[in-house]
Symmetry: C2
Subunit: 731 residues, 2 copies
């Protein structure tokens, strides 16, 4: 894609000025002066990094020092961004996948003039300042940082998501002469990121989709914590990337040769067919005594070595954090150029608005991160749902597909489970390269909003974070798979929660009811993870109405991801009891009963066992039983103490028993006892699996009765947290 405007050809000038034409006999005096200047800047930068790690005797100096030249190339010559407005919409995005090298990013942000990134802030790296903008890994909440990176392999996956977002928005909104979305994604990775499975999944997808707006820059220093990379990896990385559909460029001297790096980056920007992988050879901790060694990776270099580096660099060994006027001057044009980018983009968007008023109107709402239509009206009403037994995965389709159809900010994808998760809407277009002609005949293009992730759950979640991070609210990613495979996806889901990025994860086949696939596919313990994870909603709706409620909660929750946990099997519908509003409160009284002996807490796909057991308890044993529906612990925790007490009736004589086919961990807060799972599942047809594990109204009722009898016999009024597992029939 052509640059939006034939703007500053900064990089071309720079390449020339910095001596790209040194081969020419008549290399100008200016050029050689510039090379010297660049080299002084590199040395200053490296000494600054060394000082910043030295002050608190820790941090990661080596990679940041080794990447100095690529940093100059990126921040001075290549990237189109505006330090004065880090959120300028059409900016190039930078992702540091090797996030431990964060000083690299922070220091360049300081040098090019991000206002908040003062020298004082830089010096807060590894300090006890609680308001530092310089945490040990880059964090999205600080200006100028696109995504939080740190867990290796995820940054590059996020970058793939950012590149998808660019491609998708460009295809949707750009018109001839009006490239309102035209940014590039620049992602730096280290050796480690390229070993992580999540990165390999994402790399494969980027090649498949031919995301030519993505450039991955490989800081090839051949060192990880354990030592040289060849201790654990001897593959041909370039050949592997080519096999994955990437264009591969190499730079032999990544330590000093800024012009060649700039040249490679420019080639990458101009690439029209493929994502680009630039393999740049560097020396970790260059200039220090441990250069090229793992010792340069994750600890301060020591005062002697730092002093020596300074002396060798022509700096005063006794001075610290010295940044010369020349160094600042080297980057002065960046801010002005950034302002120009921004102004010209604004002019472009204004002209676009005159030519394409409706489209521009929608585009403006997307830029603001607003919904393009009133979504609340699209959610089906209770009476629109079938009253016959329905799998909640089907209910989710009934709720979500009209939303996905009408709301162009929604992108829905599946980790190869289209036939199972019911997330396909009429007229859906696949997100694909337009030239792809798959064997099955289902083509697509970049305007498509349905994503075939392949069997890559972790990348699905991590890339979705990139989609959501492109610009707050612009894209709402919806993923889908079996709930069990959200364990594969968990590190990505966690990073979404940590970054407050909205995404909705549709997790079907959420219990032993999943059946024949057996224990490998039956989640038992996974809900405990997501119920404990900060800043995420894990919602298990009991029927279609509650599924509508789950979507309302998830869409309203713009500062967190949500997981909607759904059944494979048919669920009884409870229109007389279930309430979408109730779901918003996390738990609510489903069936009231005065002076009840027992409250059965029914959860999601297992609600019917609670309701049916109530019948048996009431009619066979005369035990008065009320039912609470409890789809979401996190939402319930936000309620008032009064509401909680009203629902759970604390300190009454009513015993609370939760019925769920999961491990009971965490339910002790709400129940005195659990009818739950304490082993892995079993391969049996869904109904038979439930039966095998004692999920049967009569068995449950009998155990509840025995529990009450036991307490009476033992004379226990106050259980005092001595929680009871009632489902002791386990095999």
């Amino acid at each position: 894609m052509a640059p939006p405007i034939a703007l500053v050809t900064a990089s071309e000038l720079a390449v020339q000025a910095a001596g790209q034409n040194r081969q020419d006999n008549k290399a100008s005096t200016l050029a050689s002066q510039d090379v010297e200047r660049s080299n002084r800047v590199l040395r200053t930068f490296r000494c600054l990094i060394a000082d910043l790690c030295e002050q608190f005797k820790g941090g990661h100096p080596g990679s940041a020092m080794g990447m100095a030249a690529m940093g100059v190339a990126l921040w001075k010559y290549i990237m189109r961004y505006s330090p004065d407005n880090p959120n300028y919409f059409n900016r190039d995005r930078f992702v540091l996948s090797n996030g431990h090298a964060c000083l690299f990013q922070y220091a360049f942000m300081h040098l090019v003039g991000y206002k908040h990134m003062t020298l004082e802030q830089l010096r807060s790296y590894h300090s006890e300042r609680t308001d530092s903008f310089c945490p040990g890994h880059p964090e999205i909440e600080h200006e100028g940082i696109e995504v939080t990176t740190g867990p290796l392999g995820q940054g590059v996956s996020n970058a793939v998501g950012l590149a998808m977002a660019t491609k998708h928005l460009a295809a949707t909104y750009n018109r001839p002469g009006f490239p309102v979305v035209s940014n590039k994604i620049w992602c730096v990775v280290g050796d480690a990121c390229l070993q992580e499975g999540v990165a390999l999944e994402a790399i494969s997808l980027a090649g498949h989709w031919k995301l030519n707006d993505l450039v991955v820059i490989y800081d090839n220093n051949q060192v990880t914590c354990d030592g040289s990379v060849d201790l654990a990896n001897t593959e041909d990385v370039n050949a592997k990337m080519k096999a994955c559909g990437w264009k591969v460029l190499t730079v032999d001297d990544g330590n000093e040769d800024i012009p060649t790096i700039v040249n490679a980056l420019e080639q990458a920007r101009a690439e029209l067919q493929k994502p680009v992988f630039i393999n740049i050879k560097t020396t970790i901790g260059i200039g220090s005594k441990v250069a090229g060694d793992a010792k340069a990776h994750g600890m301060a270099l020591g005062p002697e070595d730092v002093a020596n580096i300074k002396r060798e660099s022509g700096l005063n060994a006794d001075e610290h954090f010295v940044i010369s006027h020349e160094t600042y001057g080297f980057f002065t044009e960046v801010r002005e150029r950034g302002q120009q980018y921004e102004r010209r983009w604004e002019d472009l968007v204004e002209a676009y608005g005159k030519e394409y008023p409706d489209l521009a109107d929608e585009f403006a709402r997307r830029v603001k991160g607003e919904m393009v239509k009133d979504w609340t009206k699209i959610i089906p009403a209770k009476e629109d749902f079938p009253i016959t037994p329905t799998p909640s995965r089907k209910s989710a389709g009934l709720v979500c597909n009209p939303l996905a159809s009408e709301l162009r900010n929604i992108m829905v994808g599946t980790a190869d489970l289209s036939p199972s998760v019911n997330m396909i809407w009429k007229g859906k277009v696949d997100f694909q390269h337009p030239d792809l002609h798959p064997t099955c005949g289902i083509t697509g293009d970049y305007t498509g909003r349905y994503i075939h992730w392949g069997v890559r759950e972790h990348a699905m979640a991590a890339i979705s974070n990139g989609l959501a991070a492109y610009n707050k609210g612009t894209i709402l990613p919806i993923t889908s798979s079996f709930f069990m495979f959200y364990l594969y996806a968990a590190p990505g889901v966690r990073m979404g929660a940590l970054q407050r990025l909205q995404a909705i994860h549709i997790a079907t086949h959420d219990s032993i009811g999943t059946g024949e696939d057996g224990p490998t596919h039956q989640p038992i313990e996974l809900a405990a993870l997501y119920r404990a994870m900060p800043n995420i909603l894990y919602i298990r709706p009991a029927d279609s109405e509650e599924t509508a409620g789950a979507f309302i909660a998830a869409i309203s929750s713009t500062e967190s991801p949500s997981i909607i946990s759904l059944s494979r099997q048919n669920l009884t519908q409870y229109p007389q009891y279930s309430s979408r509003d109730g779901v918003q409160r996390g738990a609510y009284v489903f069936i009231e009963e005065k002076d009840a002996d027992v409250t059965l807490i029914g959860v999601g796909s297992e609600m019917k066992f609670a309701v049916e057991a109530r019948e048996v308890l009431q009619h066979e044993y005369g035990i008065k039983t009320r039912i609470v529906s409890f789809p979401c612990q996190r939402l319930f925790e936000r309620q008032s103490r009064e509401y909680k007490s009203e629902v759970l009736q604390y300190r009454s004589h009513t015993r609370r028993i939760v019925v769920e086919a999961y491990a009971s961990n965490g339910w002790e807060r709400y129940a005195h006892a659990a009818y739950s799972m304490s082993t892995f599942g079993h391969s049996l047809p869904g109904a038979a699996a439930y039966k095998y594990f004692g999920y049967d109204s009569k068995a449950i009722a009998l155990r509840v009765k025995t529990f009450l009898d036991d307490l009476q016999q033992e004379g226990i009024d106050d259980l005092d947290g001595e929680f009871r597992e009632l489902n002791i029939l386990h095999h």
Copy 2:
């Protein structure tokens, strides 16, 4: 490696007989008869698969039908195994990574004569029989199944572990003329497995280690659930495998051409340098109306189609589950040959014992899965530990390294965190190909027991399952990484728990004390997952003595994996209170106090906050406080009700408050309130991070006092599960 004995050249004969030499003009009558016979067997097999899915209208027929020819090649001609003794030690191992195609394996096991795999058992697939040997994915607890597969990508990783085990045992015990370990690993993967990150990590490692005893057979049918594979994957798989260091072979007609398949498999067996990837093109659901289509993947074909397949195959459409005498006869030599393999191996081992009695003695113990030395004597005594503050990751090294040094069944590895996890013992040898000469100079060979996994946590766990599954007790894998990255590894750890495979996971940097790396590296919610996961011990020791206890528990737990959760930072040592025996009971009284008002539950790396808060409570507020150490919930759950009550003092007036820097979910069973985390962490030096989140003896004591005051003021005696979060200072 040469075959152990110049035994039956079954496959050579077979290739000839089945018409490999058809190019020869004089192809024998016998050969053409055999081709016809093979083809009838293939058709019979496919009809059997179709029938088995049809009976309960479900299952995965397509791949199993498509792979029939490769199944004949493997079970009749190639694999060295003994149906009469599925556990014969030196057997070739077969792994079905695309586990949903399990009928493929079950049906061949039936045909070659595994006694327990009767036709009646085959017909229990997808039935309600609770004692079926034919679950929806292969499960290790059933004879003849090497590993439980199902979550895609893990089977191939397990196979890498099995191949490592073979390499390692062969290098350790084989002597010239005595190849007592010489088996091969045959692993079938589908398109999906090759997309999963965990598989890509494992593939990279297998290439690095040049595991030529591993053959991965790719059932290349180009179909997954969503449709044709090219919807989500268009990479050049063969080129990618070559780049990863694999030898690649291809078979164009995998549907019928048994001789070519056999030939490729033989080439693979003969390969001396690299793992082998055989790309075999097949047609999913071959013979059915939906052949080559995703519809053949995961549902029954329907009675009409099945009848038609039978007619086309020359079988009676009205008969079901028909296996002709000819078909059984086709495989009759397999059992006899298997008995021969076994007898000759036994003879070989006997002769080996005469030549190398000491080695053979050790080998025999390894085969039996016994420890080679009395490990209990190797664990340091309490008085051997330093009493100065020590990080528990260092304590773990003090306990584990002598064990690893002396016990040759232990293999220790790290996901690129050697300098951090302290798992290196003096004289350790790396597991490496002997020709590897890494840049850092640390060479190794296949006898090595220290594994550099690279930055591949998920594969580390999944491959370790393969190491453990080779033969029960023969190898005890110990993995290591930061605790947070055991979220990446979680699907592999789970599969170890599900399969009852012993492994010990050393998880360091286990709390916000991990410090500057920030929230991406600080686990908050992860313990909740592992405390809820069935059949695993999650143990958080508080000091060196408890760390010794954790190892004792983990080593004793031969039917489950364990995670030992350790601090980065210095921990106060409590030799006067801590007890390795106490750890075995999960929780124990650390500091007793008569008529205590409060029990503070101290956990692992946060114990000192509990102990110090006790001082403040006692001396500043006159609140009598006892301390319980609670390293492992699972072990505590196994204790008697009396013991539990003794430790926790149920229904006394003593309030129980847990102090831990994790989410409190699950502690409600043991405590009335928690001083815990409800947000993600923060990038600060470890001590400052604790302080930032209120972990400070005075702050804790004050909140505990306020809690007691509140209860008094509210007149609440019985909290009745109304759990309180005391650490409300969160930012």
